[in-house]
Amino acid sequence: MLTCREMSELGSDIIDGQLGLRTRLAVFMHMHKCSRCSLYIEQLKVTSEVLQQTSLNGQSVDPQAILEKLNKPRE
């Protein structure tokens, strides 16, 4: 049996589908019985999706200045 601590360590491999068949089965059995780990793994997945949709702050970026540099003939 996998412990909850072990489940938390496998978290990213679980959400990324990187596990072999045997571990996948053990994970499935654990999740079926453990709502805590199910919640943690689900939240880890949401965290990953949130990060995928995150943009870094472009407030100080001046696109016109960048475009001007691009259009300048190179020395």
Partner: protein, 201 residues
């Protein structure tokens, strides 16, 4: 993604303001991605070169990947072109070690949950991201991650690159990439969890 399609369509129709919007959206991301590859001094040059290549090639972008993934691949090539000229100034020797689980203390000796995971008020990415303050908090904590975790999170989650590409770009093993990504996600999860429990960053 609809917004991205719209921008690309306008760009193909010759609307330069669409290119400005794309630069504004992704420039900081390109710089952050380039820093570990070429150092902070040259990261901006890499981003600049990326825009030059992107502008020339944008009509060939077929949208099979996210625009950000396509840009990230160009940036990695540009960074390599620079480092081949011997300009690499960063050392990643200390990268890749596992600092251990940030939630180790939440389990008892038997490995069961001691401090239970809490239910969140918002449980979809869309609901979470609708909070302006949370977006700010995510950016702040992303920068607070250890450099190696931050880089892998940016390359995997924001850029959408695959493990092999990231491993090659950073000169690490895929196994290291997996561990760093997991630790980075766990720390960002703890941040979201705190925000959901307490309501502030």
């Amino acid at each position: 993604m609809d917004e991205e399609q719209g921008l690309l369509k306008r760009l193909r129709e010759g609307d330069t303001s669409a290119f400005e919007a794309i630069i504004k959206q992704h420039h900081a991301f390109l710089v952050a991605m380039a820093v570990p590859l070429v150092g902070p001094q040259l990261a901006d040059d890499v981003a600049q070169e990326t825009w030059l290549k992107a502008m020339a090639a944008i009509n060939g972008f077929e949208g099979r990947s996210k625009l950000r993934t396509w840009l990230a691949r160009i940036a990695i090539n540009e960074a390599h072109a620079l480092t081949r000229k011997g300009k690499r100034e960063v050392s990643l020797d200390s990268w890749g070690s596992d600092p251990g689980s940030p939630i180790a203390s939440r389990f008892n000796e038997q490995g069961a949950w001691d401090v239970l995971p809490a239910q969140w008020h918002h449980d979809t990415p869309e609901e979470l991201l609708s909070q302006e303050e949370l977006q700010e908090c995510i950016r702040k904590h992303l920068h607070k991650l250890p450099d190696d975790q931050q880089s892998v999170v940016i390359m995997r989650e924001l850029a959408g690159l695959d493990y092999a590409e990231i491993a090659q770009a950073l000169g690490l093993l895929e196994g290291n990439i997996r561990v760093l990504l997991h630790r980075g996600r766990q720390r960002m999860h703890a941040m979201l969890n705190h925000f959901e429990e307490v309501g502030t960053c």
